[in-house]
């Protein structure tokens, strides 16, 4: 099982990605997916994610390798947007496929917690026409601590 890890420079269709992923793992009994999208209704007009190419995708691949080594998976998909997005647009999609659902749930949960707090992305939001950088959240680090 080679994880499929991608940075997306443009918008992507999460439903189509999940369909294709699930079709590729017919031996799996469960596919768990998480879709993160730009939160609306918060005066946010746009969100921009920047990355650093020499580190960001290699780091995501390393994370996928850790996930694949920790749970018995039939497949793992990670797609992460970079660039400017508007509310409702997909930011990140994680899908994990396993023979039994528990492994798939845990793997997707672990991957998301580590993407949020340990991957090389910097986020800024535009409100009222003004961009402001988003500072790290303490909750993200608390989420990470769950995994020991």
């Amino acid at each position: 099982m080679a994880p499929d890890v991608r940075l997306a420079e443009a918008g992507f269709d999460p439903g189509a990605q999940i369909d294709a992923f699930a079709r590729g793992v017919p031996q799996a009994g469960g596919v768990v997916s998480f879709l993160g999208q730009v939160r609306g209704g918060d005066d946010v007009e746009a969100l921009e994610l920047t990355h650093y190419a020499p580190l960001t995708l290699p780091g995501m691949r390393d994370l996928a390798g850790v996930v694949a080594g920790r749970w018995a998976l039939d497949g793992l998909l990670i797609v992460h947007r970079v660039g400017v997005m508007v509310p409702g647009e997909p930011i990140v999609l994680v899908a994990a496929a396993a023979r039994h659902r528990r492994d798939a749930f845990a793997a997707a949960d672990f991957a998301m917690d580590h993407l949020k707090s340990q991957s090389w992305f910097w986020k800024r939001e535009k409100r009222g026409g003004v961009w402001a950088w988003v500072e790290p959240r303490a909750q993200d680090h608390a989420d990470l601590a769950r995994w020991g």
């Binding site: 994610l49 998301m112 090389w120 910097w122 986020k123 500072e135 790290p136």
Partner: protein, 76 residues
């Protein structure tokens, strides 16, 4: 020349995403930068990556090197 790369809010402080500098010790290069930028780059939570690999301690830049300054991440 060598290159400094500024990520996240550090790019705003620098007024650009990158800057060309003469090779040499990073401590000496930073001493020649504007005070506000040097202070931001030296922040305790700023990590450094030399040519795509995380480094710490004393860094000396050679011709063609790329040194990235990475503030705390806020992704996902």
């Amino acid at each position: 020349m060598a290159r400094l790369v500024f990520l996240g809010r550090l790019a705003d402080v620098a007024g650009a995403g990158e800057m060309r500098v003469a090779p040499g010790a990073v401590a000496e290069i930073m001493a020649d930068l504007p005070g506000e930028l040097a202070q931001a780059l030296a922040g305790p939570k700023v990590r450094l990556a030399l040519n795509g690999a995380l480094v710490s301690g004393v860094v000396v830049l050679a011709e063609g090197d790329e040194l990235a300054f990475l503030p705390p991440v806020s992704g996902g």
